[in-house]
Amino acid sequence: MTRREEDVPAEGGVVAEVARMTEEERERHEAEIAEVVAPDREIEVEIGQTLLEMRDVTLRFGGLTALDSVSFDLRRGEILGLIGPNGAGKTTCFNAMTGVYRPTSGRVLLAGRPLARLSRHRITQLGIARTFQNIRLFGEMTALENVVVGADARHRTSLLGALLRLPRHHREEREAVARAMALLEFVGIADRAADKAKNLPYGYQRRLEIARALATEPKLLCLDEPAAGFNPAEKEELMGLIRRIRSDGYTILLIEHDMRLVMGVTDRIVVLEFGRKIAEGRPAEISQDPAVIAAYLGVSDDDAA
């Protein structure tokens, strides 16, 4: 044991560097990060055109109809909110999109391509990424490794290539680590990159999920209640992050209970109740919609809380 811990600089690295930067330097640094976070992707769909279509999607579990012929569009570049009282079918809708459940009938199309028969990892590779309502990270991996697993969705190193460390392996590894670091900085948790995911604070875990999903280079990012358990200040921060993700060229589908957050950040909202779509429109319209108010305030229900 020749070297001790003190030989390793305790202070230093990118995080400390950023803290020392001037305003101007920091802006440039952030621009560099944004460059890596949103790589040039070929998306067949023009901005404003339909990216994802839900066509009469019905999902039954035995006698229970979880989704009842739900249809809506997601346009490229928008933030669409998906809201509804508890048990309305929001997460089921997500699961139908990402291939976790197969719709009983109806179709889901991404950029015009039906997703029905594709395996879940293929759907991710085609460009849908998601986070989970109940955080599901790879707990034993570090934050950085979690994000690199997401980036691996785009990698093509074969088993043999990894075994013999062929050039592609080296290139992809280097790129993946660089991109994963940039993503951690982007969501603001780079200082804990080396910690196991299970040891991160709650808010960090939520943001790590977003970074991991972004690492798969999605066309559509689905966030399932990303603000659950956040205090108002954290929610504010999250709204900023969601806006920044969108301005980097991502399309976002957002499930959220917090009305202020949904109203504040989304372009359009789809409202579900008992598996049916009861309204769709701009936030201002939705907040005035009698059906929505009835669903949320109800007659005898306390769902509005």
């Binding site: 990892h121 998601r130 670091m181």
Partner: protein, 358 residues
């Protein structure tokens, strides 16, 4: 600071400087024949070969159980296939064309890999306990085939396995067999290490952690599970082939379920997922019964109790799993936070536990 953190804080050359003498010591153990650890029943080099053989098996099984998290209770089946391939192609008792012993090593690996695919393709759609039961069945099927298929010669077995045309075995001294095996272990460790710090290793750990999420994050889980099975099978087969060559005799008596359990015990005892840990576990499982022959008949009782106690007090095994999953992780962490490595989960520096707010 724990030993592991100290180790991780060392630079690569410094790590090699520590490792090389250790490796040299490992190589020369049978020659030194140190008095305290020398075995009484078996001669020491033979005992050391057995330890090395178990270590190789444990490294292979660790890929399946430790890395990918697939509980395989029939691993001895692959070991048996490897041994029988070597026996069939080298023993005069077999009517097949004779090959030089060393050629049968890669051949045994290829054949066991094929068996890995055959077993994996239908069964890896199963998970957890169901997979364990099916693999248990696989191990039994291989053993029963050895019992009942005539060309495999049942209990009569194959003689002079690994002998060349002149009827001589490859090595006559157990020490030489030990050296060959240790060299192979080192090569396998390097290759498995390459896999670990790559997309493949990350996919395996992701599958172990949460298979559904791994799939949703774009990991072709089915494919990578089969790869884990196939890699594990190849290493098991290699170990079986070495065993057959060293012993010079193969019959149906050494491939029972209990051997599978011992292999698994080595992995779990040492620390599933940790390469160094499973080597240690294998050494314990293989060496102790040979060192303390007077208690050897209580072997399974003692291992059983040891495992129970271990599961209560240290469920992660003697050395808990801590894999490095990035080829450029060291540099990345250094650059990002000015620290060479992650804080381990049980260190005092570890941040607060999560939860409580969900």
């Amino acid at each position: 600071m724990s030993l592991r953190e100290r180790w991780n804080a060392l630079s690569r050359p410094a790590q090699w400087a520590v490792l090389l003498p250790v490796v040299a010591l490992v190589y020369f153990l049978p020659v030194l024949d140190p008095p305290v650890i020398a075995t009484t029943g078996t001669d020491f080099p033979t005992a050391m070969f057995d330890v090395a053989r178990y270590a190789l098996v444990a490294v292979g099984l660790n890929v399946v159980v430790g890395q990918a998290g697939l509980l395989d209770l029939g691993y001895v089946g692959f070991f048996a296939v490897g041994a029988y391939v070597t026996a069939l192609f080298t023993s005069p008792s077999s009517s097949l064309h004779k090959l030089p012993f060393l050629w049968t090593l890669p051949l045994a690996m290829v054949v066991t890999m094929i068996f890995g695919v055959i077993l994996g393709t239908p069964t890896l759609r199963l998970r957890g306990d169901y997979l364990a039961i099916v693999t248990l069945g696989f191990g039994e099927i291989i053993r029963l085939l050895a019992d009942n298929v005539d060309p495999l010669r049942g209990q009569r077995g194959f003689e002079r396995v690994g002998a060349d045309n002149a009827g001589q075995p490859l090595f006559t001294h157990a020490t030489q067999w030990y050296w060959l095996t240790v060299t192979i272990i080192i090569a396998v460790l390097l290759l498995v290490g390459n896999l670990e710090r790559s997309r493949v290793g990350r996919a395996w750990v992701a599958i172990r952690e949460d298979e559904d999420v791994a799939e949703i994050m774009g990991v072709p889980t089915y494919k990578f599970k089969i790869w884990a099975f196939v890699m594990g099978a190849a290493i098991g087969g290699l170990s079986g082939a070495l065993y057959a060559g060293k012993l010079g005799f193969v019959n149906n008596q050494s491939f029972d379920v209990v051997t599978s359990m011992l292999f698994l015990a080595a992995v779990v005892l040492g620390g599933a997922g940790n390469k160094v840990g499973v080597l240690l576990g294998a050494a314990v499982v293989a060496y102790l019964p040979m060192r303390f022959v007077q208690i050897a008949k209580y072997n399974y009782l003692i291992f059983g109790l040891a495992l129970i106690i271990l599961m209560i007090f240290r469920p992660q095994g003697l050395l808990g799993a801590r894999q490095h999953l990035l080829a450029y992780g060291r540099q990345a962490y250094q650059r990002l936070i000015g620290r060479g490595d992650q804080i381990s989960g049980d260190s005092a520096l570890a941040p607060e536990k999560t939860g409580g707010r969900s």
